[in-house]
Amino acid sequence: MKNKAEIVIIGGGVIGASIAYSLADKGMKDIVVLEKNYIASGSTGSCGAGIRQQWGTKMNCILSKKSMEIFENLNEILKVKRDIELKQGGYLLLAYSEKEFKQFKENIKLQNSIGIPSQLLTVKEAKEIVPQLNGEGIKGATYCPTDGHINPFRVNQAYVEAARRKSVQFYTYTSAQDIITQNNEIKSVVTDRGVIETNKVVNAAGGFSKEVSLMAGIDIPTKSERHQILVTEQVNPILKPMVMSFSYNIYCQQIPDGSFVMGYGDPDEQYSHNIKSSWQFLEEMAKKATYLLPFLKDIRVIRQWAGLYNITPDAQPILDASDELKGFFMAVGFSGHGFMIAPFTGVLMAEMILGEKLSMNIKLDLKRFEHDRLILEPSVV
C-alpha cells in the first residue's frame, strides 16, 4: 500500500468514486480511495436506483439536471465495459391534497424555467401514462419524461474503472481508522493496513459520515436511518415510469430487467446503522403498493434489503471544505438522494478541492446549520 498521497478519499461509493474520477480527470495525481468493504457495498448499492429532476428548489433542479446530462452520456464519457442501464421512463409524482398540488404547480414553473421538461397532469392524463393506477384521492400529478432508472452498481463500478485507468488507487477492504492532525492541518490517515501521509482528506463515507468526521475532530449533524426496499420477480414491461408520492409515501418502479423495486420511508424509524430487513416492512409495503397499483397483487416478492439514508437537518447534503481543519472536505448527508446527483457532485467537489471557481453556485456549507440558513426543499422523501 502507498504510504503517501496527494489526497485520500474515504468511501468508495458512487460519491467517492465520482470525486476521484473528476479529480483525476482534472489532472490530480496520487489519489487514494479507501473502501472498508467492496465497491457499492454501502448506500450506493442499496439505493432504489431512481433518478429524478423534479425538485422544488432551483439548486436541486440544477444539480439533478446537470447530473442527468452526464448520466445520459456516461457510457461514452467513462468508456464503460458494462452498460449502466439507463431507462428514461419518467417519474410520475402524485399529489393527494390541493396544497400538495399547488406546490407541484410552483415546482413545474421552476423546473421548466431551467429547461427540465416536466409537466402538470390531471388524474386522467396520469392514467394515460399508467392505466393501472388507482386514481382514488389523487388531485393531480406531475411527470418528467427524462427521469428514470440507472443501475447503481454499474455506475459505481464504471467510475472506479475509469478512475483506475487514470491511476487512482482504490484500496478495498481497507478502513480508515483515524485522521491525524496538527495545528489545524491534516498529517495522515491511519488505516487497518498502514498509514498514508496526506494533507487532504475527503469524507465521502455515506452512512458513516459522522464517524469519519469525528476522526478529524469535526462534529457534523448527520444521522443515519434505515430505509428498506423490496424487489419482485421479473415480468413483462407493464409500468413505464417511476410512480411516487411524498404524501402517500411510496415509490415504485419497474426496472429494465422487468422486476419492480419499491420502498417507503418509515416515520417511526430510529436513527441507527441497522440494515436488517423486517417483515413489517413487507406487509406495509405490499399494502401500499397494491392499493396504488392493484395488478401487483399477482406478482411475487423475491427479495428485500435495506440501506442507510445519511440525513442532515434540512435533508440536503453538505458539500463543503472545513473552516476548522485545512484540507478536510465533506460530501456527505445526501439524505436519500445522493446517487442521482453523484455525477455533478463529483465535478463540483473536484473544483472545490482544486480551488477552482465552482461551475454552479451552491450553498451546501456546514455552517448553515449553526446560522439557521436551512434549505427548504418541499419535494423530498
Binding site: D298, R300, V301, R303
Partner: protein, 96 residues
C-alpha cells in the same frame, strides 16, 4: 477439479448469465461473490443463487488460486421463497 468448457452455457438460470460473462468479470478483477452478484445480477433472481453461486465460487478458485473455504457466500435475504403480494396483504382470492 471439473473445468467447464462451453462458455455459452448459462450459469445463472434466473438471470440468464453465461459462463463467459462470469469469467470476464473475474478476469476484470471482480473476485468476490458479493461484487460479482452486484455487477452481473448473478444470484439475484428467485432462487437467490442456489446453483450459480457455487459455480461462481468454483470459477473464482480456479482462476485466482483461492480455496473454496476462503470464498464468502453473499447474504441470503428474506423471503426464503417468493411470496405473492396478495398473500402479504392477506388477500388470498387469487390463490385458488
Amino acid at each position: 477439479m471439473v473445468i467447464l468448457m462451453n462458455e455459452d452455457k448459462i450459469v445463472c438460470r434466473c438471470e440468464d448469465i453465461t459462463l463467459k460473462e462470469l469469467r470476464d468479470m473475474i478476469a476484470d478483477g471482480y473476485t468476490r461473490l458479493d461484487e460479482i452478484k452486484r455487477a452481473l445480477r448473478l444470484g439475484m433472481g428467485p432462487c437467490q443463487g442456489d446453483i450459480c453461486l457455487e459455480i461462481a465460487a468454483r470459477e473464482i478458485c480456479r482462476m485466482t488460486d483461492k480455496k473454496m473455504e476462503d470464498i464468502k457466500m453473499p447474504s441470503k435475504r428474506p423471503p426464503v421463497a417468493g411470496i405473492k403480494m396478495s398473500e402479504l396483504v392477506g388477500d388470498n382470492q387469487n390463490e385458488k
